[in-house]
């Protein structure tokens, strides 16, 4: 078996893996990216629509364009890249880590490294996860699979289409299907509010006269061979109203019902998972409880904007570098989601430096207040014009923000 040694190995060459690798390599470390596809860029490749890079590059790029900016940088760096290689196994050995990568050529490779960055993205939730009853015909696709069939293979999944889920992926696929001549009959959303960005509701549904059924669920899939239709059931106060059920005929059902971090590998090495995000629990430096194992990007928590993936992952690369020179954080304290907050990442903070946080709220509200308290003392307050669960909130606390507190401890973040 081939063996290779590096300072750090990055699992996944998507937006996240590339940013983490670049920033660690900048500090002079020997870095390797292992990517199972034949190209770098990850999920960006199938997102041929606009809307990437507005924050980071201050211009609007397509997914592949955004990916290319970074893969060019990786190419002109000293980073080693293995494409077409899947990481199968990772374990702690001695004071380092051993990682096994599988490829056709050179076969199985054993990597000996000092640090590993999990940047292997997320996967889609599917029919089984949301338990739609009914028959098992062909024609039920997750939206991401449908997107790959259309954008990468040139296939039309079907002619008459219903979409479950009004997140951005569902909305973008509604528009994409319309553009290729399919008839999108409805987008069905269980929540009373659309999950996607307002601009996508306008550009992807309204412009195509696609009805959006809020507070509705698909209660049943019909059809013996191919999908023949679905039963849609309205909800009132969260309770299904079966007597108001109506049917929609269709030959295709796209499920855009959310993403979850692809945490199988992380689980293998025994990383603790956060129940709310599905990703690893990490400290203020994005390191898991296992020495030298870091996580960032959609593997850590599902992001809606690639720009934030890049920002978080670049920081992760710097933390890896600090780890490699032997710097360890001072005492760290828990960060807890408080009132109306679904989750906050990272799960720890430290007092003596700038800390950047990402979080999601549970509510929809205009003019909300974000409040950060340590042991009951408010140390930070921010006004937010509009918040909703589908839009990630970012804020940072500077060293001086912590000066206000003498007695450090658990930090609670809430929204009102």
């Amino acid at each position: 078996m081939n063996t290779a040694e590096f300072d750090t190995l990055v699992i996944g060459g998507g937006a996240s893996g590339m940013a983490a690798a670049l920033s660690a390599a900048e500090e002079g470390w020997k870095v390797v990216i292992v990517e199972r596809e034949e190209f770098l860029g990850g999920i960006l490749h199938q997102c041929i629509h606009n809307g990437f890079g507005l924050h980071y590059f201050k211009e609007e790029l397509t997914g592949p364009e955004y990916a290319e900016r970074f893969s060019d940088m990786v190419e002109s760096s000293k980073i080693t890249v293995y494409l077409n290689m899947t990481i199968m196994d990772i374990m702690k050995e001695g004071d380092g880590l051993t990682v096994y990568g599988l490829s056709m050529d050179p076969g199985m490779v054993r990597f000996k490294v000092r640090a590993v960055v999990f940047a292997n993205g997320c996967r889609e939730r599917n029919r089984g996860n949301i338990g739609i009853p009914g028959t098992r015909p062909s024609g039920v696709f997750t939206a991401g699979l449908a997107q790959r069939l259309v954008n990468l293979e040139g296939f039309v999944p079907g002619k008459e289409c219903v979409i479950v889920g009004s997140g951005d992926i569902g909305l973008i696929m509604a528009r994409r299907m319309s553009w290729i001549g399919a008839n999108v009959k409805a987008v069905v959303e269980i929540q009373p509010n659309p999950a996607g960005l307002t601009r996508n509701i306008v550009q992807c549904l309204n412009d195509f006269d696609i009805p959006l059924y809020l507070s509705h669920v698909v209660g049943k899939i019909k059809g013996k061979e191919r999908v023949e239709g679905v039963e849609v059931i309205p909800l009132e106060n969260g309770i299904q109203q079966p007597e108001k059920m109506f049917s929609l005929e269709c030959d295709t059902l796209l499920l855009a019902v959310g993403l979850v971090p692809d945490n199988e590998l992380a689980r293998k090495i025994g990383v603790e998972l956060n129940q709310e995000t599905g990703g690893p629990v990490v400290d203020s430096r994005l390191m898991t409880a296992i020495e030298g194992v870091f996580a960032c990007g959609n593997l850590l928590h599902v992001h809606d904007l690639v720009d934030f993936v890049t920002e978080e992952s670049s920081r992760c690369g710097k933390f890896v570098s600090e780890f490699l020179i032997g710097k360890r954080p001072e005492k760290q304290y828990r960060t807890n989601p408080g009132k109306n907050v679904k989750y906050i990442v990272p799960n720890y903070y430290e007092g003596a430096r700038e800390n950047v946080f990402y979080m999601r709220t549970l509510i929809v509200k205009n003019n909300a207040i974000l409040s950060v308290k340590v042991k009951g003392t408010e140390i930070y307050r921010k006004k937010l014009r509009h918040i909703q669960p589908s839009e990630m909130i970012q804020f940072s606390l500077k060293e001086e923000d912590f000066k206000l507190i003498k007695d450090k401890g658990v930090m609670e973040v809430s929204i009102e």
């Binding site: 078996m1 096994y100 599988l102 076969g107 089984g128 009853p133 009914g134 069939l149 399919a182 689980r267």
Partner: protein, 490 residues
């Protein structure tokens, strides 16, 4: 045409037909296996609980019970020859009252009468020692160490591969719709007009055995489909038991079970409800909830959140509940193998022996083949191999080095093997390899598999299906549909 004349035609490529075909392949006769679907094991045999039963549910008065006991014992040798996933994990029946313990004692007596070895009546401490995840309210139960689990479709695929290797002809997409007797043989016609001739016919058509019987003008009976819904939890469930867990059975069914499948997932089910339709495989939310509350009575920690998929199967039951296996009294050379509901899977090796004996009795001369080879190659799989083994596999065949299904770690070499073995639909590949069976249920690998099938078979991607006829995936290309002017992109 010579190859269209056979001594025996077996109608139905389920586990029953497959086992009979393999048994007959060891003799010097010409046999054909006819299946209406585009692959074998697409009927009842793909959607069941996969349990090799322990021989204690009924006493020896039932044919099905005698064959179950006999069949169970034959699995070790079959596994050695055919390499399908099989494990004697044992069965535990959990009783929750003294009343239920009485039934357990009856089960024990059934087992004794059936001469089952190793059967054990357990007190509370013993049953909890065997299965610590059980509900603490358990009062005792039964332990049957000879019970086990298999992957049913892999079992059928292996049986058929072995049969074909030894000379049985397999015709898929061959739905028998009419038959005529002339001289000493039947002329059997398919829905697409293909014809074959055979001296003997075996009716192993599962849910449609009643229809096939009437096509041949043989006995009239009615198969009553009894639906069973099952729910599958992901690989790493912390509620996964060590043994198959049964409740104390009721009058019509064995109840809701918790099954640690051979491949590491956990299955819960099946329900049992009679229905008219033979093609309604729908599942309902109501039953999901029922199944879970029953299963939680056995193992309280089971969580609906871990479900990765669900499915339903139909038991091909006859009135009276027993198997119906025998030489037709109404048509010559026609053998009925009908009503093979549970424990059909378990009994099937014994059913094949039984049917072979019937054929002999009916005048078929059976001489053993000298070159009969009971073994088929054991295909290496990434998920069963360690890192060094994988490295040498890749050296031999680089396609082991490309992962196609990430949830179940299935390599391209395994997908190619499935396709070259004749499994050219998405479901066929799925049952052969487990690709699409994991957590993401094909969200990641479906397009990759489709491309491999197309490359290996030369089929156009648009003509690839989930499971044959009508179940197309994506048959149109961009540009096929007209786009409304106001919707087209600038």
């Amino acid at each position: 045409m010579k190859e269209k004349k056979f001594d025996v035609a077996i109608i139905g490529g389920g586990v029953v037909g497959a086992a009979i075909a393999r048994k007959l392949s060891s003799y010097d006769i010409a046999a054909v296996l006819l299946e209406k679907e585009c692959d074998v094991s697409f009927g009842v045999s793909k959607a069941n609980s996969g349990i090799i039963h322990g021989g204690f549910h009924h006493g020896p008065g039932y044919l099905k019970s005698r064959l179950e006991v006999q069949g169970n014992r034959m699995f070790d040798q079959l596994e050695e020859e055919l390499h399908f996933p099989f494990k004697r994990c044992g069965i535990v029946v959990a009783a929750f009252s003294e009343e239920e313990m009485k039934t357990v004692q009856q089960l024990y007596r059934n087992g004794e009468a059936n001469k089952i070895i190793g059967l054990e009546l357990c007190n509370r401490a013993r049953i909890l020692e065997l299965e610590p995840k059980l509900n603490r309210d358990v009062v005792g139960g039964l332990y049957a160490p000879a019970g086990g689990i298999i992957e049913p479709y892999r079992f059928v695929f292996s049986l058929v591969e072995s049969a074909v290797k030894n000379g049985v002809k397999l015709l898929t997409d061959f739905e028998v719709v009419s038959a005529q007797r002339s001289n000493d043989h039947y002329e059997i016609r398919s829905s697409t007009g293909d014809i074959i001739f055979s001296k003997w016919v075996i009716n192993a058509a599962g849910l449609f055995a009643d229809r096939v019987s009437s096509v041949f003008g043989a006995e009239e009976f009615r198969i009553i489909p009894r639906k069973g819904e099952e729910f599958l939890l992901g690989r790493d469930s912390s509620s996964r038991p060590e043994h198959v867990i049964f409740p104390v059975p009721g009058a019509v069914s064995k109840g809701i079970l918790v099954i640690p499948t051979v491949e590491g997932t956990t299955m819960i089910g099946p329900t049992a409800r009679e229905q008219e339709s033979k093609d309604d495989f729908s599942t309902t939310e109501e039953n999901l909830n029922k199944v879970f509350s029953s299963a939680r009575r056995l193992i309280p920690s089971l969580s609906q959140r871990e479900i990765i998929t669900s499915f339903a199967g139909l038991r091909p039951a006859l009135k009276g509940g027993d198997f119906y296996i025998g030489i037709s009294g109404q048509q010559p050379g026609f053998i009925q193998v009908a009503g093979i509901q549970s424990p059909g899977l378990t009994a099937v090796p014994a059913i094949a022996e039984y049917v072979k004996d019937l054929l002999k009795k009916d005048g078929l001369v059976l001489t053993e083949k000298i070159d009969y080879d009971p073994s088929i190659p054991d295909l290496p799989r990434i998920r069963y191999s360690d890192n060094n083994e994988i490295d040498s596999l890749i050296k031999e065949n680089p396609a082991f080095g490309r992962i196609v299904c990430r949830c179940e770690s299935v390599s391209e070499a395994e997908i190619v093997a499935a396709v070259r073995n004749g499994h050219t639909t998405l479901d066929g590949v799925k049952f052969y390899t487990r690709a699409q069976m994991g957590k993401c249920q094909g969200g990641f690998c479906t397009d990759r598999i489709v491309k491999i099938i197309s490359r290996e078979t030369g089929m156009d991607i648009g003509s690839i299906t989930k499971r044959g006829r009508g179940t197309y995936l994506a048959r149109n290309r961009i540009g096929d549909f007209e786009v409304k002017d106001e919707y087209s992109r600038v």
